[in-house]
Symmetry: D2
Subunit: 139 residues, 4 copies
């Protein structure tokens, strides 16, 4: 499979007084999944990206649907699929499920920027190559 | 004006190593704005809604665009406008700006549910009436 | 009164599945109270301190007791009292109460550092003067 | 070794504008370590404890020292050692280190309560037995 997958356990700190995940915590999980994907799937950690490279990858749009609630102790499988790469942008689809039911789906656009200027900065060759390999496997 | 507005200062805890708001924190701000709107705009606090009434208003979809970054110390004006009310659902538009620039815009759908069953539950009359008044003022 | 006080409402995002404040959220509130105190009580905002001045005030020790749980909708009064100022350190006492009961008490030590080097940096004259005035009022 | 240890990677979401861990996030890590210890070390998950058993284990005091800052990408080893068990209380020591330097140390007291009443509730036999075994190994 060409998509990247991480496991995320639902902890006490993710849950609200209704006993289910407080939805802003899902966006922390999405960010952590993307962070793991950059390091393990694309070969460039956020420490390297933000540190020595002086880049960042802010999210500029994200559309999310929450299909079913998640409870304390659930283990989510969060899958990332590359939809499209642009000069400095990247469209991803993120899907989380557990115990046979979808929990949430998101499509998002990241932009690769120069941290100093805040302006879009073309993807580094290593990142572009790694992303293109995933795109070919998917299509 | 028929929309509800809250002020939100950008605190140290909202900001990431790039010195700007970490976007999952925006969803906490959105939730806090909706929470303030229920209490101050619609007359039913979340404590009452979740407590004695046994209801909840989970977000089922949210589409968000982040136009410009926000920095430590910025004060955002977060506006909520009602788009549509259904039997147990509610569509809202949320727009945040500061110093003349848009920071983010979101459209979201809430569902009014029974906490016990997790099933949609028709809006209480007082909430429906308060929302309908806002809708008329907007149109 | 020589102490500084802020109000903090308990929001949905602060509460756990037991319906009470998840205690790590109290440390966000403590940090926000100290941040408000620097800006409103001492006259130097965190944006100025961390930005143009290039300083920071990390917490190096904090001892906390949680006397009573706080619930959704409670409004806490969080008081800050200066205990002692050193060359680059500051000892504070923080006490939160609501509806006549104590919720938590903390004593903490901050250190004023140079962000670049991470090393202690003597208090700026304006901060030291403002803190000393508070100390005299307290004693 | 009789202590329990978990690994915690420092993620983007833990870091502040100074590029180091924002200290309230350490308390989320402490809570997550205790949560993992209950499930993996003591055999009772928080889902079981809070769900079918109707209990909770709020923290009533926590004293913490932060020795050295942690940065994005660091991997902390967080160790939990049992200090003392009472009728319904538990004293723990938590120590986090990475790359040969201490990051923080905490001593904390938990109380085992009945969620309904909020009152202390004697440790269940299985939890008390599991904790006593660890205490014997330590001493």
């Amino acid at each position: 499979m060409s998509h990247f997958s991480v496991q995320q356990k639902i902890l006490f700190q993710h849950c609200d007084p209704a006993g289910i995940v407080f939805y802003p915590r899902y966006f922390e999980m999405i960010n952590a999944a993307v962070e793991a994907w950059f390091e393990e799937g694309l070969g460039v950690s956020f420490a390297t990206l933000h540190g020595e490279r002086g880049h960042a990858v802010p999210t500029v749009t994200i559309n999310t649907t929450f299909q079913n609630p998640s409870h304390l102790g659930d283990v989510l499988a969060i899958d990332i699929t590359v939809l499209k790469i642009g000069g400095a942008s990247l469209d991803l689809e993120i899907c989380a499920q557990s115990a046979g039911t979808k929990r949430f789906e998101a499509t998002l656009t990241l932009v690769h920027i120069n941290k100093e200027t805040g302006r879009p900065h073309s993807w580094s060759d290593d990142l572009r190559d790694a992303i293109n390999i995933l795109l070919k496997e998917t299509s």
